[in-house]
């Protein structure tokens, strides 16, 4: 690796560059935050910092059943999908990285294919299938396609992590008297934990952010998730501009993601660098 220039000038240069990137990424978010704190009257005044501060928008969205219900749907669907995808993905990735079985290349190929498949082209068939099978507008109706698309992601990320764990450890565990299951549970799983958390976060974000499936495969509050509910937002009355409420809702739904990432941040970083350090 080339040695990095760490002089004060280089620091300044990198600092500026970082600042530009951060500002570029954060301005839209901050704009939404600003909008959510404005009163209806000042919504369109073009000021970045609101002239009149209000929390009415937040009060409003939590008073409407529509939003609260959607939030519950979102959390439930995303968590269940993440759990199932990570558990299945862990097993599949372990098999792919450790075992030689017939059809392994095919399995990896197919999962890659699924990951590349344009989701839009599946929307109409899925819509028809789900209406026929009665899955339309239910939680499983969203969880199933989410798992399908999250699995390749999970398998790829996890098998990369498993490949970093020396196989000798597993052999050693077996020699020490562990069964295959014990070797996995007591030796491999703890070492793969950072990978599992990283994968869980990625999958959760994917499910949480999805709009396409959510809007196509739901029709009522029963299973509508937040991104879709947002698009159906109207103001308190028909004639009210819902921009403030939508902004407030947008801010609210970013919070779980931020919490999730902050909570596991240490784990993610450890996971991303775990291959660099010799155990």
């Amino acid at each position: 690796m080339a040695t990095l220039d760490t002089g004060p000038r280089a620091k300044l240069k990198w600092g500026l560059l970082d600042a530009v990137v951060v500002v570029f990424a954060l301005i839209p978010v901050l704009w939404v935050v600003s909008l959510s704190l404005k009163t209806t009257a000042t919504l369109t005044d073009g000021n970045f910092i609101p002239r009149e501060w209000t929390l009415d928008n937040y009060r409003l969205i939590f008073q409407t059943d529509q939003f609260v219900r959607a939030l519950i749907n979102s959390i439930g669907i995303a968590l269940i999908s993440t759990l199932i995808a990570v558990v299945l993905g862990t097993m599949a990735a372990y098999a792919i990285s450790r075992l030689d079985f017939p059809g392994k290349a095919l399995l990896v190929g197919v999962s890659l294919l699924i990951a590349m498949f344009p989701q839009v082209s599946l929307v109409s068939p899925l819509f028809n299938i789900e209406r026929q099978t009665g899955l339309f507008d239910t939680w499983p109706g969203l969880i199933l396609p989410y798992i399908t698309f999250a699995l390749p992601l999970a398998i790829y990320t996890l098998s990369a992590f498993f490949k970093q764990i020396p196989w000798d450890l597993e052999k050693a565990a077996k020699m020490d008297g562990a069964t295959q299951a014990e070797a996995f549970r007591k030796v491999i799983a703890p070492l793969a934990a950072p990978g599992v958390f990283t994968t869980a976060i990625l999958v959760f974000i994917f499910c949480w952010n999805d709009f396409l499936f959510a809007i196509s495969l739901t029709s009522t509050e029963q299973s509508r998730t937040v991104p879709v509910a947002l698009s159906f937002f109207t103001g308190a009355s028909q004639f009210e501009d819902p921009t403030g409420a939508i902004s407030a809702a947008a801010v609210v739904i970013t919070i779980p993601i931020i919490l999730f990432v902050l909570f596991f941040q240490k784990r993610i970083v450890a996971g991303l660098t775990s291959g660099a350090v010799k155990g």
């Binding site: 000798d168 450890l169 052999k171 050693a172 020490d176 008297g177 350090v277 010799k278 155990g279």
Partner: protein, 400 residues
């Protein structure tokens, strides 16, 4: 503790390659056996089959008299030390060593006692609460040993346990491993590609090549009476000199000159129905500065220009190049490939000799060198067989 018997054990992989061809080997209770050979000779596969980490394609493996072919590693009651040590990075030294005992559902006090004892033997007591990442190479190696001994298993399997250590530490640990094995008296199978380790550690050494046993015997037998070119060239450092030799009427023509054929050699050559072209093998220490030899008449004396002198203090390694080109045989090519350098083709043969430190031989000058003719080995270049061994009792088992 138990004996280990391999009865025609074979390993074939699904892609059709056979790594181990019907090996027969009996390892006595408490014995320290070394499997040695160049990489890809099947020694690690053999070890893994004994461990249960690889399935046995055919043949039978018995530990303590019981057939264990189909038993999982955990039911064979043997411990293994890996080349990479395979310490669990998420556990402390104590937890690493306690792991096999915990799996065996041993009582907590018992575990503490056993780990404490093992730590004391291996001088790890003050490191018990550290993680493997914070240990030095030698310490990690000792932890790996500790994890194997806490359980008092029937046998130890060691897969090149010292090859990740630096040279000095390796010698030190070699002694420690040897002492530990004697102390515990546990049957041990040790895999290495380093012939020095094999010679110094084992009660018996098994030389393997291409999935076949070459020779099994105690280190001295292997050194003095190798059954074929491969064993002769693999055991010993610096290795045996190999020179082309031609059988003539009453003499053996080799690059140093004509050696008279005595009765013994003549009888052996006739008995073996040897070809006229042979490979002559002689170890470096069977040369001496002619000026320092009393009974020069007994051996063969020749004069050659000195290439290079390396003084080791106790001895001098003197390198010559002699006319006549290097010996040619398939076995020798294998050895050269293993040594890492397919030797540069040369029309002159190189000769390594070990002379006394008193020798006044200088580089660039001609030197008169005495050679102990009684110690030469003659090999059939096509089969690699050692012809000079024929009349005597076969040394150990020679497999194809």
């Amino acid at each position: 503790m138990a004996d280990i018997v391999l009865d025609k054990v074979t390993k074939s992989f699904p892609d059709g390659t056979t790594a181990v061809h019907g090996i027969d080997l009996e390892i006595a209770d408490g014995e320290f056996v070394i499997l040695v050979g160049p990489s890809g000779c099947g020694k690690s596969t053999t070890l893994n089959m004994i461990a249960g980490l690889e399935d046995i394609t055919s043949g039978e493996l018995r530990i303590g008299g019981q057939r264990v072919n189909d038993r999982a590693p955990k039911d064979r009651d043997i411990a293994m030390v890996f080349q990479s040590y395979a310490l669990y990075p998420n556990m402390t030294v104590r937890e690493n060593m306690a792991f096999p005992l915990k799996l065996a559902k041993m009582a907590k006090e018992e575990i503490d006692r056993k780990v404490g004892e093992a730590a004391k033997v291996l001088e790890l007591t003050e490191h018990l609460d550290r993680k493997p990442a914070n240990l030095s190479g030698g310490q990690r190696q000792r932890v790996a040993m500790g994890r194997a001994i806490v359980r008092s298993p029937k046998a130890f399997l060691m897969d090149e346990p010292l090859s990740n250590l630096d040279a000095k530490l390796r010698v030190q640990m070699r002694t420690q491993v040897s002492r530990l094995q004697k102390q515990l008296g546990t049957t041990t199978v040790y895999v290495t590609h380093d012939q020095t380790e094999a010679m110094t550690l084992g009660d018996r050494v098994v030389v393997m090549r291409g999935g076949h046993l070459q020779q099994v015997g105690d280190p001295q037998t292997l050194y003095d009476r190798p059954v074929n070119l491969f064993v002769a060239g693999f055991i010993g450092s610096p290795s045996m000199n190999f020179l082309p030799a031609t059988v003539e009427e009453n003499a053996l023509r080799c690059p140093m000159g004509e050696l008279a054929l005595d009765d013994r050699l003549r009888r052996l050559l006739t008995a073996a129905d040897a070809p006229r072209q042979l490979v002559l093998g002689i170890r470096p220490e069977h040369f001496e500065d002619a000026a320092l030899v009393d009974q020069a008449g007994k051996g063969f004396t020749f004069t050659a220009p000195v290439d290079l002198v390396e003084s080791m203090g106790s001895d001098k390694y003197v390198y010559f190049s002699v006319e006549g080109g290097p010996a040619v045989a398939a076995d020798l090519e294998d050895l050269a490939a293993d040594a890492g350098g397919a030797d540069v083709p040369h029309d002159r043969a190189n000769l390594v000799t070990r002379l006394s430190a008193e020798s006044r031989v200088r580089g660039g000058q001609e030197a008169r060198i005495w050679m102990n003719v009684d110690k030469i080995h003659l090999f059939d270049p096509s089969s690699g067989r050692n012809i000079t061994l024929q009349e005597e009792e076969p040394a150990g088992v020679a497999a194809s």
